[in-house]
């Protein structure tokens, strides 16, 4: 089986309605599964004709999200992130 694709959530701070939570921005995780294309909420929120964007579930470790403050670094958090918020991290 292929290794899960590693991705980083972009550390963008655009104004307006976005659905990438602040606490995940800049954090690295792995694609857990692909959910297919959905209307981009950043356009839908303003009544615009929305483009279709791939939505992905990304798995983060609590250690990655909270560092030394994590209760148990091996615990997991999963969230849905649109493709335009993700940048791939190539295995070095």
């Amino acid at each position: 089986m292929a290794q899960p694709q590693k991705v980083r959530v972009k550390n963008w701070h655009p104004p307006g309605h976005v659905r990438a939570p602040m606490y995940l921005r800049g954090k690295t995780g792995e694609i857990e599964r692909e959910l297919g294309p959905f209307g981009n909420p950043e356009e839908l929120a303003y009544g615009h004709k929305a483009s279709r964007r791939r939505l992905l579930r990304v798995r983060f470790t609590m250690g990655e999200l909270w560092g030394a403050e994590a209760e148990n670094p091996a615990d997991i958090l999963e969230a849905e992130i649109y493709e335009h918020w993700l940048e791939p991290i190539n295995a070095s």
Binding site: L35, L55, E71, E80
Partner: protein, 217 residues
């Protein structure tokens, strides 16, 4: 506290004779959004797009949704491994197969096992699988739950009375976009003889959010 003291009124302490606080009448001006809702509804009715009866029927239909539907799905998954596999593979299609119309719901079911405990939150707002569970509890929508369960899930679960051993991995699911989540709790021991309806009776709303386990019979 409720008590009989005919010599004085209870208005002074703000409690009704049965000991409950009075809820003030809503005599304040309508908020902008209340006014907008009424204007939109009246226009839709006036223009013949919907009738008032249809609006009431839709509200009633929404009010009829309850955690009982989700509990039926969990009970079916407990007794039918093939159904459970389909539910975990494609939750939306699996509930349709049970006669529950998913509507706009896109469902991901996640299973609790001896090694993994799942819990659901929507940090951005209050996304919730209403078609399966009805209306969300107030705490689910409040900032305290939404901000704390993603950082200290074990502490939050302990406050709900659920202490998880260190060896159990916690998985928090933040419904940030289009999917909604159903936790399939573990089947309690000692339930081999129970039928599907009795099993469904063990599955609470909180167990399907992931802040509790299924009840023991």
């Amino acid at each position: 506290m409720p008590h009989d003291h005919p010599d004085h009124s209870h208005d002074a302490d703000g409690l009704s004779p049965s000991g409950h606080p009075y809820r003030p009448d809503q005599d304040h001006k309508l908020t902008r959004w209340q006014a907008m809702e009424i204007a939109m509804r009246e226009l839709l009715v006036e223009k013949g797009i919907v009738t008032a009866a249809e609006i009431t029927a839709t509200v009633e239909q929404m009010d009829r949704r309850s955690p009982a539907d989700g509990a039926k799905v969990v009970a079916r998954a407990w007794i039918d491994p093939d159904f459970k596999a389909r539910l975990l593979e494609n939750g939306t299609e699996a509930i349709r197969e049970m006669g529950i119309e998913p509507g706009v719901l896109k469902l991901i079911a996640v299973e609790n096992t001896p090694d993994v405990h799942n819990v659901v939150v929507c940090t951005l707002c209050s996304c919730y699988p209403r078609n399966l569970l009805g209306l969300p509890p107030d705490w689910y929508k409040q900032r305290a739950y939404r901000s704390r369960v993603v950082k200290t899930p074990r502490k939050v679960l302990a406050e709900f009375g659920l202490e998880l051993p260190e060896k159990v991995q916690v998985r928090v699911h933040d419904s940030t976009a289009d999917m909604r989540y159903l936790v399939v709790p573990g089947r309690p021991e000692g339930t081999d003889g129970l039928d599907e309806a009795a099993l469904a009776g063990l599955v609470s709303r909180d167990a399907m959010i992931g802040v509790a386990t299924a009840r023991h019979p």
